[in-house]
Amino acid sequence: MSQPPLIELEGITKTFGEGAAAFQALKGVDLKIQRGDFVAVMGPSGSGKSTTMNILGCLDVPTSGKFRFRGVEVQALSRDQRSLLRRRYLGFVFQGFNLLARTTALENVELPLLYRGESKKLRREAAEHALDQVGLLPWAEHTPAELSGGQQQRVAIARALVTEPDVLLADEPTGNLDTERSVEIMQLLNRLNADGITVLMVTHEEEMAEFAKTIVHFRDGLVERIERGHKSGAPLEEHA
């Protein structure tokens, strides 16, 4: 535990709007996340968990405070520099899957590699490998419309994985799925975490948070409490 944390938030505030209409979503968040952790972020709506995730995902910058990612001060970076950071180190999974319609699973998974300018051969190999990891290689040529919700989310996870990111950010990844599919997705995330990927997940379902090693509870724009060493990703057998 002597190495510096992968992610470090220090006195992060975020204010939306100005003057009388201003709304302070984050009021001074401090948080350290170590490499290899599986963090579930919980809290009622309006507690600031989504805003925090957007900042952690380098999609947004804090109004004040410091956000260090791999030792780099992200709040000082330009828009394009943050894009490059996302491209290189981050993978995103959304509640609504957000796959490109009328585009095959393989092409969806290839997309991040296109922006990296990888060769056609390498793109295809990496995309097939990622689809294989989520168990969807046989569905590579299907479009989202031909896949179930659970399958679509697995394609989305494959898309996040294909660049071999350090961190996987998942925003309510099971929000649109039934319990059985949700458990499958969580088991998948658990496995990826075991392979070394740091997972950050927003959820409001206790059951899903149970899969994480660390649970961070938000309330009123502040971190309310942190449960560490939580089950250490043990419930694999329990739910299976």
Partner: protein, 402 residues
């Protein structure tokens, strides 16, 4: 850099494939614009070439002089052999003057008959009018001087009444005159005679036609071939002065003759063609502008509709300039496809229309390439603003967009 452009092209092509119908409708303005422009220019070229060929049929560096009425009730005095000789002798720069007469008759041969034009002319006439005898020979001096019954045929008559191969040396009857065929002229596109088919003609020595068909020594019109080194305007003025004197026209009276200068006609046609090209270019500009605005309109709708997709692309690390390049590439590729389809359509339309209105089809590579390049430029101009808007979207808002 190439990798990025290649990837962007691939994304653009995939996007077009995903929305095939919409892509087609988007680019329809460009397709129609390009097709219309190229078709118009191609037909214009055909028309010009056709007219120029007609003018060339009149001979180049040639004045054609014929009597004209000053009073609708009085026939103007005809020309005669003396007038022709005077012009030839007295105006410097004149190379040859050829008097001519025209009439109609029925041609008979081997039981076939055919109504045709009969032209009385000299060898100078052949030279001035660039008429070529492709089979046989022209008239001899003796035949011209004595007004012998020899004839040279246009290809149309040969086709109509000579069923067998042999033409030269055959005896045939024109009206009441029997004559011997000594030559056949080339296929031609025009004639001086009003409305006549230049190929449907029998040419005989001037004297023969004057004496045996018309019955007087009048000359209906004459053709003046001049040296192009001389100034045509000045020569024309000298010609007018000479003819006014010979025809005893008082000062203040109008000329009772008319001079057509083929060089002048050529200039006029070129001028008209120039104006036509300008008009077509302006119409082209407007129609492509409308097409371009159509592209911009649909691209803006497309950016709004694909806000979420743009959010996804930005979230997974696309740079603003990559998103901009992608949408710009889409617009340009669409316009290029539109241009290509337009060129294909124009080719088909031009061939069909040229055939239908009997004009030559003249493929102009410059217009085709220019239209294509212009459509691509339209794509850049009208694709830029929507692409710029797409690149400026905030990824979080874009991802939330429903």
């Amino acid at each position: 850099m190439f990798g990025m452009i290649g990837a962007t092209m691939l994304l653009a092509l995939r996007e077009i494939r995903r929305h095939l119908l919409r892509s087609f409708l988007t680019t329809l303005g460009i397709i129609i614009g390009v097709a219309a422009v190229i078709t118009m220019v191609t037909l214009g070229r055909g028309l010009t070439a056709d007219v120029q060929e007609d003018i060339a049929g009149l001979g180049s560096d040639v004045f054609i002089v014929f009597p004209s009425r000053t009073d609708p009730n009085v026939a103007p005095p005809p020309f005669d052999e003396e007038d022709v000789r005077a012009v030839e002798m007295q105006i410097p720069g004149v190379e040859a003057v050829a008097g001519a007469v025209e009439t109609n008759a029925i041609a008979f041969h081997n039981g076939q008959d055919w109504q045709t034009g009969v032209q009385g002319a000299s060898r100078a006439f052949f030279a001035a009018q660039s008429i070529e005898v492709v089979e046989g020979r022209e008239f001899s001096d003796r035949e011209e001087a004595r007004g012998e019954s020899v004839c040279i045929l246009g290809p149309k008559i040969v086709e109509e009444i000579f069923v067998e191969d042999r033409v030269l040396g055959e005896e045939m009857r024109i009206g009441n005159v029997s004559c011997q065929v000594i030559g056949v002229i080339d296929e031609r596109s025009s004639s001086i005679g009003p409305g006549n088919d230049a190929n449907d003609i029998v040419i005989m020595p001037l004297k023969t036609v004057q004496r045996r068909f018309i019955g007087n020594n009048n000359i209906q019109y004459f053709v003046v071939k001049y040296d192009p080194a001389y100034e045509a305007g000045a020569m024309q003025n000298q010609l007018i002065d000479l003819l006014r004197e010979r025809r005893v026209i008082q000062d203040g009276e109008d000329n009772n003759f008319n001079i057509v200068d083929t060089a002048e006609i050529n200039d006029t046609v070129n001028q008209v063609t120039g104006v036509m090209t300008l008009v077509v270019t302006v119409i082209a500009g407007i129609s492509l502008l409308v097409g371009g605005i159509g592209i911009m309109n649909i691209m803006l709708v497309s950016v709004t509709e694909r806000t979420r997709e743009i959010g996804i692309r930005l979230a997974i690390g696309a740079l603003a300039r990559e998103v901009r390049l992608q949408f710009l590439t889409e617009a340009v590729v669409l316009c290029c496809f539109g241009g290509l389809i337009g060129i294909g359509l124009a080719f088909g339309l031009s061939v069909l229309l040229a055939g239908a209105i009997d004009l030559p089809f003249i493929f102009d590579p410059v217009v085709n390439v220019m239209s294509f390049v212009f459509s691509a430029i339209m794509g850049i101009i009208f694709g830029y603003y929507p692409a710029h808007r797409a690149s400026k979207l905030d990824p979080i808002d874009a991802l939330r967009h429903e």
